[in-house]
Subunit: 196 residues, 2 copies
Amino acid sequence: MTETSRRTSIGAQRNLQSRDAILDAATAIITEAGLAGFSIEAVARRARAGKPTIYRWWPSKGALLLAIYELQKPDLRMPDTGKLEEDIFLFLKGLINHWRNSPAGAIYRSIVAEAQSNPDSALAIGNYMTDRYEWIGAILKHHQQRGDLADWIDTDIAGEQIASFAVARLIMDRLERPDEDLRQAARQFAKGLRTQ
Amino acid sequence: MTETSRRTSIGAQRNLQSRDAILDAATAIITEAGLAGFSIEAVARRARAGKPTIYRWWPSKGALLLAIYELQKPDLRMPDTGKLEEDIFLFLKGLINHWRNSPAGAIYRSIVAEAQSNPDSALAIGNYMTDRYEWIGAILKHHQQRGDLADWIDTDIAGEQIASFAVARLIMDRLERPDEDLRQAARQFAKGLRTQ
């Protein structure tokens, strides 16, 4: 190993440590103090990092909050049971339970609040959600290939319809409503509202 | 007219004047200063009213903001053309244009932001949205009576699906996306995602 590459490697390792320290500090602050106590300055102080270091990786409060949010969901998948209606139901139920039973719901709500007055954070959550809609859409494409999702469906828009239902439940504080609602919504998404 | 009834009537009139002054002041403040500058105290000062007077009518910041929001939409109806898919499309387009072209969008975004950390405001917007879902649902019931909306549909949940799509567009700052998206979403809501 040359002197240069060793130095780079130590630098890279320090960077990773610093990144982790920032994410840990940000998670602790948002959990303990909520959005009102959350600022890049407070995170920098707690992580013993410089504000420019934080901004280098996350250009807005919203972007940093989304990074923490992502860390909260190690194992959330779009189900792929092969039955369209069931997959939509399981996805809605899984996401809503995740929001109810982990700090993820509160963190996501903070991101939404922040994004309503901070254009950089609005851009961050808008881009993030576009990715999520496409991610749901990719699973729906499997159904399209199997022939149980209609050919003319725009799978990204379908992803947006399904995710928007869950997001609205979260931000309107309606997560506690019965699972039967989610089953009915899944059926209505799959079969459509009109008389066949 | 007795002395008592005259006094009551003057009192009632003063109440209405005071109510209007409060709503005007609240509208001016949220439009000029946004949520960061909006407080019951600031509204009271500008309207020359007491804070208890405001709280008597609107128990939370969210409730007062919802009252202003409602004043912004004098003529927004759920369309009833008789064609289900077209009605859903026109509703989505009308609501999104209304949010884009009046202060209503910014005010609604402030209410959402406020509701993420203030439980009283969360309750206010949750109740308000439940009413809106039922209001859309009532129009969908006409379609059910005519036979073009399936019998097994829960019209309130259908209202929630449609409204949630629009609300998510607003809060993710995606109102500028093309109308074609809304037409596609309306078709997918009406016909369903699955192969018929």
